[in-house]
Amino acid sequence: MVAALSPPRILPSGDAAITVEFSRTIDEEANRRVLALDKLVASAGLAAVTETVPTYRSLLVHYDPLQIGFDALGEKLTELALQPLPEAKAARRWRIPVAYGGENGIDLEDVAKALNITPDEVVARHVGGDYKVAMIGFTPGWSYLSGLPSSMQMSRRQNPRLLTPPGTISIGGIQTGVQCLAGPSGWHLLGRTAVRTYQLGRDPIFLLEPGDAITFAAVDEKTFAEQDRAAEAGAFVAELIAS
C-alpha cells in the first residue's frame, strides 16, 4: 500500500505562470515528484501550457491566460501531481571528466583545510559521489546536482566571485554543480571539465536533462587541455555510460 501523496502548494508567479511547490527545502522525494509532474504535464498535452521549468522543489508552469485561468490550471496540475509516482527507472548516466585543483580548481586546498582532510581525499570523496541532475538554471547549462556526500557539505563563500571560468565544477551547501559558461558564483571551485553542457551548433545544444545521473572522473591537466580543444571543435561531448 502506497501512502497517499500530499497535495502541492499552487502559488501564483504573476498572471501567466504557476509555481507548483512540493517542498520548501531540498528534498529527494520532492524532486522526484517535480520531475514526474514535469513528464505528466508534457504528456497531458495541455495546449495552454507554454513551457515548464523543473527545480529542486517546485515546477514552474508558464501558461497562456487567454486559454486557461489560474484556478482551472491549478486544479488540473494538482490532479496530475496526485497521480501515483511511476516506478523509479534507471536514469541515463554520464561520465564527466574533471581536472581537479591547481589553476582549474583554485579552492581545492581551502576546501581540504576547511574539511580537515587532504586535497586528494576531497577529490576521492567528490569522485565517489553518485549524483543526479536536480535542476538546470540561472544561466544556460548550469546543472545543479544532488547527491554530494554529507562529509563535503559546507556553506557558500561569504564573498561571491564575479567571474568564474567556463566548465567549473564546484560545491555549495549540500549541492555540487556543473557550470557551462563563465559567470558569477559563490561556490567553492574544485576543478574544471571540458564537457560543454550548452554548445551552440551541436546536436543536442543542451547535453543534460533534469533527472540524468552523473559520475565524475578525475583527469590530469594535460588530458583536460586536450579534451577542451576537442570540445571546442565539437569533437568531444561526454561519455554516456548507461542509457
Partner: protein
Amino acid sequence: MSKLIVTSVSPGSSVQDVGRFGAQRYGLVPSGAVDRLAMAAANALLGNTLFAATIELGPLNSVFTAKGGAVRVSLTGATRPADIAGTPFNVNTSVTLADGESLNLGVARAGTFGYLAIEGGVRGEPMFGSLAVNARAGLGSPYPRPLQAGDELLVAAASSANEKRIDLPAPAEGPIRVVLGPQDDEFGDAKELFLSSEWKISATSDRMGYRLEGPVVKHLHGHNIVSDGTVNGSIQVPGNGQPIVLMPDRGTSGGYPKIATVISTDLGRFGQTQPGRAFRFKAITMAEAQAEYRAFAELLQSLPGRVHDSNILMLDIKALLSSNVAGVAVSATDDNTWQAPQTADAQD
C-alpha cells in the same frame, strides 16, 4: 542591398523581438523587448508582423544612416528629440531615409527604451525562433551582443508606402500593479511596507534586473530559499531588503524569496520608468490581473488599425479645396471645422 549603418549608438541598445521560448528548463532565458507594446507599435507602423525584431534603443544619443539605398524606419517608445538633417522626426511615426541620410536620435526625455523598427524587420539567423540578443548566452543576430558603432544591418529596400503615424492610448498612470506571491508568506508585515512605500529605480539597473531603493523589506525566515523558477517581473528580495525586479535577461532560477510579480500588462510601463523617479506598487487580484492581460492582448491586436497616413488630413484638405467643395464642409480659417493634423508630439 540597402543597409542601415549604426553610426553611433546609446549604450544598452540591442536587437530584440518577443524572445525565445522553450529552453528555460535548460537555463536559457527568453530575453526579448522590455516594452512589447512599443515594439509592436513600431512594427505596426511599417506593416511588419507585430513581433518582428526591432532595435531596442538605450536612453542616450544614437545615429543611424541609410547606405546603398533608401531605408524605411519607425520610432516608438521613449519620447526623445529626433531629426533628419534638421527636419524634426516624431516618435510614433515612420520615415524613409534616402541613401546617405542619417536619423539623429537625442536623449530620452520620458521613458528609457526606444524602438526603431525597419521595414521588413531586422534580418538575421534566428536561434530557437528568435533574433533577440542574449549576450551572456552568445545568442542574437546579426550580432550576438549589444550594437556598436560601425555595425551594419542588411535591410529591405524601402517601399513607396505613405508615411504613417500611430495613435496609441495615453500611457496608464498610477501605481505599478502586482500579484502577490509566490513567496509573500516569507514576509509578514513587511508586505504592507512594500505596498505602501514609495520606490525608486537605482541607476545600477539593467536588462537583467531593476534594483529598487526604498525602505528595508525584512524577511521572516532569512533571505535564502531553495532556488526556484523566475518570470519577467518577479520581485525578489535579497538580504539587504532592497527588492530587485527581474527583467527579460534574468536568471531562469533564483534563490531569494519573491514577494510579488509585476502583471504582464505593466511590465513595459515599469521598464520605461526612469531611474530616480518615484513610484508605488499596488496589489490586485488574479482575476483582475488576467482581465488586464486579455485587454492588453486586444490592444496589441488593435495596433494595425491604429495606423494612419501621417499626412492624410492635409491631403484631404488640398483635394477638397481643389475640387472647390471644401467651402461647404471645411474652412481653413474657421476653427469650428478646421482641425490641425495631430502629431505624436501633441500627446507628450
